[in-house]
């Protein structure tokens, strides 16, 4: 066994416990968990936040809202119709009624339309004589009577979103997927394949696309540039959804496809965090999927995040921001029965499984 010279120094020898697997991952403590997230931005409980993203972002929205953070709500309906019915119709799930936004391209499109004086016409899908907004098909479970009503509803939505963007100081955006379906005629990225919620699958009208890291980076930077071009101050806090893909259209194994998606998204977040002052990364992905904060935190189905994990995510966020003033944990009534998670957290992606032959 070679002996180490006593006068040799290692670049690792003075690193904190969080830098070492054994101390940080096998036996994490408060210090190592706190070290997971060293925020670039100053956020207080009064900072106006906008939430958006894939299914997991719904957990973020609910946890932050219930814990008392200033989560903006541009299209709230729960006060008028009750929380359950509001959620069923896509209200109060995020800061506006845009439904799940799985890809960076979807977010870019949405912000483009919200800030444009002449947004693109609504992309309308039909099912059994009912009409749906293809860019948020889940928000009206039974669709609307006519395509014109879809257009009107979309215009209302974009106006509400514009107000939210104008107030937001921070956009908390959870990236979910790299795989997506593109409408051939318009080039628009869709939240789900036609034929799941509404519409009809036709290889002539949609094509599959799996975004690369370069594309994800370009879309996120373009979104930021749009905000700045309109004089809007919001910075973007990125997270990556820990929820694996339900299905892949890539032709490969869903496990490999999940690794690709999450790796691309995580790498894009890392690059932006390291190089761009307008972006930061919050490690919800690591908290849920690894042992870094006592996890992994998955429900018994191995896919949905466990409520304890969601609470830990909020706790780490709160610990890092605003010190003692921060709401540290979700209130006692925040408890998602893991058996009901898939029902409560509306997710078009789940429908892919339902459509499996």
């Amino acid at each position: 066994m070679p002996r180490r010279p006593t006068d040799r120094r290692s670049p690792y020898q003075d690193l904190p416990a969080a830098a070492f697997w054994r101390s940080a991952m096998r036996t994490p403590d408060e210090e190592t968990v706190a070290a997971l997230y060293a925020p670039k931005f100053t956020i207080t409980p009064q900072t106006p936040l906008m939430t958006a993203g894939s299914c997991f972002a719904q957990h973020m929205h609910r946890a932050l809202s219930r814990a008392g953070w200033h989560v903006l709500q541009g299209e709230g309906m729960a006060d008028l119709v009750g929380a359950n019915l509001a959620r069923e119709f896509g209200y109060d799930v995020y800061s506006a009624r845009y439904g799940n936004i799985y890809t960076a391209r979807q977010l870019r499109q949405l912000v483009e339309d919200a800030l444009s004086d002449s947004p693109r016409p609504a992309l309308v899908w039909e099912r059994d004589g009912r009409f749906f907004d293809a860019l948020r098909p889940g928000v009206e479970p039974d669709g609307l009577d006519t395509p014109d009503l879809v257009e009107t509803a979309r215009a209302d939505h974009l106006a509400a979103l514009r107000d939210v963007l104008q107030q937001a100081q921070l956009v908390v955006f959870t990236l979910g997927l790299t795989e997506c379906w593109i409408d051939t005629a318009t080039g628009l990225a869709l939240p789900t394949a036609p034929g799941t919620v509404a519409g009809r699958y036709d290889p002539e009208t949609v094509r599959f696309h799996n975004f690369t890291q370069a594309e994800v980076l370009a879309d996120l930077r373009a979104t930021r540039d749009l905000l700045r071009a309109h004089g809007l101050a919001a910075r973007i806090l990125l997270t990556v959804s820990p929820v694996p893909l339900t299905a892949t259209a890539s032709g490969g194994h869903v496990g490999s496809a999940t690794s690709y998606s999450k790796s691309v998204l995580r790498a894009a977040c890392g690059e932006l965090q390291a190089t761009d002052p307008d972006f930061d990364y919050f490690p919800a992905y690591e908290i849920i999927t690894t042992s870094a904060a006592g996890g992994p935190y998955f429900a018994r189905n191995g896919r949905d995040p466990h409520p304890d994990g969601v609470e830990t995510v909020l706790g780490v966020f709160a610990m890092a921001h605003a010190g003692a003033d921060a709401p540290m944990t979700a209130p006692a009534n925040y408890h998602v029965d893991s058996a009901k998670t898939a029902e409560e957290i509306a997710c078009e992606e789940i429908l892919l499984e339902a459509f499996r032959k």
């Binding site: 299209e75 309906m77 008028l80 119709v81 009750g82 019915l85 069923e88 119709f89 009206e140 479970p141 039974d142 609307l144 009577d145 006519t146 009503l149 009107t152 509803a153 209302d156």
Partner: protein, 256 residues
Amino acid sequence: MTKLAIIGNSHVGAYVEARTAIEAAFPGLDLSFFVFPRHDLKSARHDETGLLAAVGEHNTALPTEIDLSAQDGILVVGQPFGMIGLNALLAAADVLGWADTGKSRNISPALFAAYLGNAVNLAARRLMKYFRDDGRFAYAPQPLVTDLAEAGSSKMASLAAHPEAARIFPLWHDALARVARELPCRIVPQPDHLRDSAVFTPRRLARTAALPREKTPGPADHIHMTPEYALEHFRAFAETWPELFDTTGRKSKKES
């Protein structure tokens, strides 16, 4: 004697005024009355012995309590069945594809219908819970207003003045009928012959039409109805409860 209580909000007044006519039509009835002081369930306490007593300030000229345990049946009248929330929703939002009333928000017809159904169902469940799921209770919705009622004079009057009232009220009637079918809850809707339409009660049945000139309130009351209306709605109630009323013989079963 069959002991029967008529309780509720200000709509109890028409039944009090119809007392003689009701007792003449249904001999053997022993009627008593109670009015919630502030027209909501929280303004009285219904305890486990069946005593219903006014809470807080109340008009001492009115009965302050009633022993419901002594009653064979109880008719709770003037119930809004979701009208308050419905009014609040339509004060905040228009419905897509319906008349534009200048609201800054739109909701879909599907959400409106779902809300309406939920609101009526919830209201019925709330009443049933308050009265301890007791099968002796029956519930009558508040009467439709007349077409002379001023918007704002009541929640129902505001809805009746809505340009889409002809769509709203049939949905509400349907929701009431559905709840009556689905819940173990005896609901007595306003009979068809007491309606001018899905939205209005005929003007001749408005309280204001029956009052002598010196008693005419200002503004005129097109919200509450006459004793004639009360008697007819009571007849409809009696038809739903053959075990309690011998409607063919016009006598209560206990009497006969």
